[in-house]
């Protein structure tokens, strides 16, 4: 069986790439995609730890399922906000949507 740390290293790499994309990309849609990547890295970790510690219990799978649900809700609302901001100000760059800052 593949050793656990290989999964963890891979998930860490995925998480780092996601973090980079979230911080560095200017386009809001790309930022959301990067967040999806980060959530998936977390999910891989959850499932890997579950499989290697107590696979007979259901917790790891249930948690991962809930993470998927939340990731979907996050994408839905995030994209709706981006679309609205784009319609109002014709920009999808999060830094330019700063009306609330005053």
């Amino acid at each position: 069986m593949i050793p656990l740390w290989l999964y963890l290293v891979m998930a860490a790499a995925l998480f780092s790439i996601g973090t980079f994309g979230m911080l560095a990309r200017r386009n809001g849609v790309a930022v959301l995609m990067s967040v999806e990547l980060m959530l998936n890295a977390v999910n891989i970790n959850l499932v890997a730890f579950w499989r290697y510690t107590n696979p007979t219990e259901i917790n790891g799978m249930a948690f991962a399922a809930f993470v998927i649900v939340i990731a979907a809700a996050e994408a839905a609302v995030g994209l709706a906000i981006i679309i609205t901001v784009y319609r109002n100000r014709h920009s999808v760059i999060p830094e330019e949507a700063s009306t609330l800052k005053g």
Binding site: M1, I2, P3, L4, W5, Y7, V9, M10, A12, L14, F15, I17, T19, F20, G21, L23, A24, R25, R26, N27, V29, A30, M33, E36, L37, N40, N43, I44, V47, W50, R51, Y52, T53, P55, T56, I58, N59, G60, M61, A62, F66, A71, A72, A73, E74, A75, A76, V77, L79, I81, I82, I83, T84, Y86, R87, H90, S91, V92, I93, E95
Partner: protein, 186 residues
Amino acid sequence: MGDASLSLILAFIIFTILTLGGALGVVMNRNLFRGTIWLMVSLFGAAGHFVLLSAPFLAAVQVLVYIGAIAILFTFAVMLTRSLTQISDRFTRLWWNVGGAGILFVVLVGTVILPVWGGFTPSNDILFANVADTTQLGIALVDRGSETTQGFVLPFELASLLLTAAMIGAIVIARDADDDEKGKRS
């Protein structure tokens, strides 16, 4: 185990390449539609990893939800907010962020993964355990919980509430945008 077989290692390598390559494609790509396709490649690789970790249900759900639904949503959003494919600078503070992500990776590997390096060698009990299946997941989801079991009925209903809230919220936001547009036109 003796069956740490060639095909398993091969599958792990392929899925890792898909996952990380796709992720790089997402963050590097200039064109957002191609970025969506790369995202799907990456998430497909993650689904493969779920299969290797004996959670095929999660793998199927991953493909169904991400490739079936979220990909469609992202492509719709990309088309609705086009215009910026020609944007000259994709990144803000590129090198700072590259450095930051690199440091993050090193920190993660150093603090989280090094302690379990070589550890967690699973016993045969765990390797050949009857892994919890979908039926058990279903039972746990509507279980009120007791001394011995954990019930997930509250998160189950809260998930539904969250989805409802997300849907209504997103409709409110997006619909207002449409109304504004109409107001401008007329």
